[in-house]
């Protein structure tokens, strides 16, 4: 990142390649819409490009780029088309993940298992959509991207104490939505 900050555009290409899949998937889990998610991820990288001179090396680059991604997602959610949509979850939207055969191929699993996986994907995305925006951000950043509470606090602009509460409440809400799947989970 420091090389890019100093004007090296080739290193921007490296950053783009390294982070694009993670950022698209973060936006995707946030918004539950593949096309919007890709648009937003592209917006994230445009912002990275524009604000490289403002990047301060005291925060890890990954913390910084996910902070930008969080801002982009939160702004998108403020748009009128999402504002009153809690009761109108569009089930058809959840069917736009990778096709089961592609999942089977990618993960090296049987096609029947891939169908089950696709169903689970849809249910998980719908459950995540039920969480309030900042709670959703905190849960995603923790569970899928492995950030610490300290890093998440910087990314969503809250105290570590709030992050701790947000994540715990978020998990408890998800536990209620995904109860059937949790009960099926074998103990180890």
């Amino acid at each position: 990142m420091l090389a890019f900050k100093d004007g090296d555009t080739a290193s921007f290409g490296c950053l783009f390649d390294r982070y694009k899949t993670r950022i698209v998937n973060y936006c995707r889990r946030f918004m539950n819409d593949r096309e919007t998610a890709e648009d937003m991820a592209q917006e994230v990288f445009l912002r990275v490009y524009r604000s490289a001179p403002k990047y301060k090396p005291e925060a890890a680059f990954s913390t910084w780029i996910f902070k930008i991604a969080t801002n982009v997602c939160l702004n998108e959610l403020r748009r009128p088309k999402y504002r009153y949509s809690t009761e109108s979850i569009d089930v058809s939207k959840t069917g736009d993940g990778d096709p089961p055969l592609e999942i089977a191929d990618k993960l090296g699993i049987a096609p029947e298992e891939a169908v089950a996986r696709k169903e689970l994907d849809a249910v998980v995305r719908r459950a995540l959509e039920e969480l309030p925006a900042k709670q959703r951000a905190a849960v995603l950043l923790r569970i899928y991207d492995g950030f610490s509470y300290e890093e998440i606090a910087k990314q969503i602009g809250k105290s570590e104490k709030s992050v701790k509460a947000l994540i715990h409440r978020g998990r408890n809400m998800l536990k209620a939505y995904l109860k059937d799947y949790i009960d099926r989970e074998p103990e180890r």
Binding site: P53, I143, I167, E185
Partner: protein, 158 residues
């Protein structure tokens, strides 16, 4: 969602995420042994994380990169016409670029003089501090530039 009765239940997530201090961990482990509610919560939330992590990542559309670079190009074209240099081109780099222009003018002037003046050692050191200038071999070897055409055709002696 059921409200928990144990006031330590709110520590379960932080415990799972390694966000408790050593003292808190020790205290919570002791508590877990005697509190079925926290044990149950820990078990369920651990299983929840597993379920969540099973949901697969999506692959990117094949034209994701192309679309992005198109957007980036459109943006930098706009910038370079109306706002001058791209935003990353700031600070020292702008200074160095300006110095490079100045140096080229000075070099041109020196080359057209009948008796060219060499840069002092000190000036060379200053110029070398700006990495953009390091490509300009003329700083060290002005005569190479003077005999450029001859050198290329292999006629001049070094």
């Amino acid at each position: 969602m059921k409200r928990s009765k144990c006031n330590m239940e709110s520590m379960v997530s932080a415990y799972m995420d390694g966000a408790l201090s050593e003292v808190e961990i020790r205290r919570f482990k002791v508590h877990l042994k005697e509190c079925p509610e926290c044990r149950e919560s820990l078990k369920a939330l651990t299983a929840l994380d597993k379920v969540l992590r099973q949901s697969s990542d999506v692959s990117l559309s094949p034209d994701f990169d192309a679309v992005f670079y198109e957007k980036l190009n459109r943006e930098s074209r706009k910038k370079s016409w109306f706002l001058g240099p791209a935003p990353y081109f700031s600070g020292l780099k702008v200074w160095a670029a300006a110095s490079a222009c100045a140096l080229m003018i000075v070099t041109g002037w020196m080359l057209t003089r009948p008796d060219p003046v060499r840069m002092t050692a000190e000036e060379i050191v200053i110029a070398k501090h700006f990495d953009i200038l390091q490509d300009f071999e003329i700083i060290d070897n002005l005569e190479l530039l003077e005999n450029w055409e001859a050198l290329e055709s292999g006629e001049a002696e070094l």
